[in-house]
Structures are given as structure tokens and as C-alpha cells.
Amino acid sequence: MSKKLLIPLALFVVLCGFLLVGLWRDPREVPSPLIGKPAPPFKLAQLHEPSKTLGPSDLKGQVWLLNVWASWCVSCREEHPLLVELGKAKVVPIVGLNYKDEPAAGMKWLTQNGDPYNLSVVDRDGRVGIDWGVYGVPETFVIDKAGAIRYKQIGPITVEALQTKILPLVRELQKS
């Protein structure tokens, strides 16, 4: 009889386990279906030289990061110093996708806060953002030499994410 009484207790403990794990998970982080898939193509005007365009096909053969940012985005400020540092280290080319922003405001923001990007392109109406499944700026993608998306960081890059996920992945992809 006492053994039978333990069954609900065991079930309760299991339920608590599930709920406890759920506490530490971020429901806003939706896994992207684009991981492992070829980067969605685009051909967008460059922020500083609108007459020139850039697209993923121009970067084939190298590992690169696409960072989605905007001057109106508050949490972009949070990750920006880290990006500036990463840009100075010249470990990996960083392309900025200026998402749903005024180009003038974007350029001003970069002169004020530092420009970590090799190049920034302008996605004025957010269409390329939709193609890339962007829903919370900032977002950062790691794209491999073959042009496939390998990792997506939703929200600001943290030191931890950079050290434990992004940089090791970049180094591994650069070797292959």
C-alpha cells in the first residue's frame, strides 16, 4: 500500500523537474528552421555607399557573421561594445543588416558608438529580415564557407555566447 502511495509523489517530482527546467528556458528563443540551410539571398544597397550592393553570394568562400541591428534598437547598445571589440580583432568579417531604420540615423548611430562592421546593408522595409526569420533585433547569424547558416543568436550577444559558441564555431568552420 505504501508503495502505491509513492506513485503520485514520484509523478509530482517528475512534473516539478519539467517545470524547473522550464524556468531556465527563454520562451522567446524560437529555434530557427534556417539552421543548416543556405542563407536566403538578398541584394541590398550598402549603408555608406548606396550605389553599391552586397549579398550573401559576394561572401561565398569565407565564414562571416550577419548582425541585424538598428539605431532604434535598445538592446543593440548592450552588445555593441562586444561587436566593436570583435571587429577590431579581425577574426571574422561582420556584415551589418540595418533593419527597418533610417539610413541617416543608422550612420549617425555608427559614428557615435563605433562601427564594427566590414559593411552594412540597408533593409529599409524589413523584407530581408522576414526572409531570414528575424523577429527580435539584435540577431546574429554565423554563415559558413558554403553559404549555409550554422548558428543564430537571438537577442544581444553575450560574452558567454561569444566565447563558448560563436567563436569556437567560427574557428572550426574556418578550418574546414
Binding site: 520562451p27 522567446r28 524560437v30 529555434p31 530557427s32 528552421p33 534556417l34 527597418k100 522595409d125 524589413g126 523584407r127 529580415g129 522576414i130 526572409d131 531570414w132 526569420g133 523577429y135 527580435g136
Partner: protein, 160 residues
């Protein structure tokens, strides 16, 4: 003088309201079908910014952009399934309020039924156990005597 000013004002007002009427495009049948399709589709899709709202409910910028996508794709002659596939390809199954039945979602779909089944099995076992209890063997003569004594209230004797 004054009535003339008033008449002028009324005329100006009448003309401006006529213009307002003219500005409202009269929807054709085709438009209303397309817009009801768009509304139905956007009610099926989740807004990823405010996750408990559909993109029909949400006023987030992304929801507005996605509604615009739906309108454009309907105008381009895409079917509902094609538009839903377009969204799933970019944002994953999470955009669907009704998740598809797949190997990863089997537990989600079958879970409530399974729990109900477990409940019924448990209930049946308990009922059967109770029935077995009530089918206990009849009392012996000695037990009958003790029961009678207890019922008569002669507890002292029983306790001895």
C-alpha cells in the same frame, strides 16, 4: 450677411464630406474574398514578438509586416498552403497556432488521450479491487457472535 456665411459654410462642409465619401474605395467582391482570406490566415499565425497573440491581433511592427506579406502573396495568386509554408520556412512550426502532427509533436497530440486512457485503466483497477474486497468470505459463527455482541453495545465483555 450672416445667413450667407452660414450657407457658404454648409456648402463647404457638404462638399468636403462628399470628397471624403469619394475617397473611400468601394470594395469589389474579389477584394472582400482576398481580405477575408488574409484575416483567416493571419488568425492562424503567431506573432513572434508578442507570442500569445496572432498576427491578426498584434500591433507589433513584425506582425504588420507579416500581414503585408500575406496581402501581397494573396494578390500574387498564392494559395493559403503556400503562404503558410512560406511562414513556416522562415519562423518554424512555432508560428502555427495549431502545430502539425509530426514525430516530434506526437506526444503533444496524443498526450491528453493517453492520460485519459491511463485514468480509465486506474479507475477500472480501483473499482475491481473494491469489488474483490466486498466479496470477502462470509463470517464464521464465532465472528457472528462477536458482531452481535458489539451491536448490542456490550463492549466491556468484548474488550476483556
Amino acid at each position: 450677411m450672416k445667413p450667407r456665411v452660414f450657407a457658404l459654410l454648409v456648402a463647404a462642409f457638404a462638399i468636403s464630406s462628399l470628397q471624403a465619401l469619394a475617397a473611400d474605395a468601394v470594395p469589389t467582391d474579389k477584394d472582400s474574398v482576398a481580405s477575408s482570406r488574409a484575416v483567416k490566415l493571419s488568425e492562424k499565425l503567431r506573432c513572434l514578438v508578442c507570442q500569445n497573440q496572432t498576427i491578426a491581433d498584434s500591433n507589433a511592427e513584425l506582425a504588420q509586416d507579416l500581414r503585408r506579406q500575406i496581402h501581397e502573396q494573396i494578390a500574387a495568386g498564392k494559395t493559403d498552403d503556400e503562404i503558410v509554408d512560406y511562414m513556416v520556412a522562415r519562423y518554424g512550426d512555432f508560428v502555427l497556432y495549431q502545430p502539425p502532427v509530426k514525430s516530434t509533436t506526437v506526444l503533444l497530440w496524443a498526450g491528453p488521450g493517453l492520460l485519459l486512457l491511463v485514468g480509465f485503466v486506474g479507475l477500472a483497477r480501483i473499482v475491481r479491487a473494491r469489488r474483490a474486497e466486498s466479496d470477502a468470505p462470509p463470517l464464521t459463527a464465532e465472528e457472528h457472535e462477536r458482531a452481535a455482541r458489539l451491536l448490542d453495545g456490550d463492549r466491556a465483555k468484548d474488550a476483556s
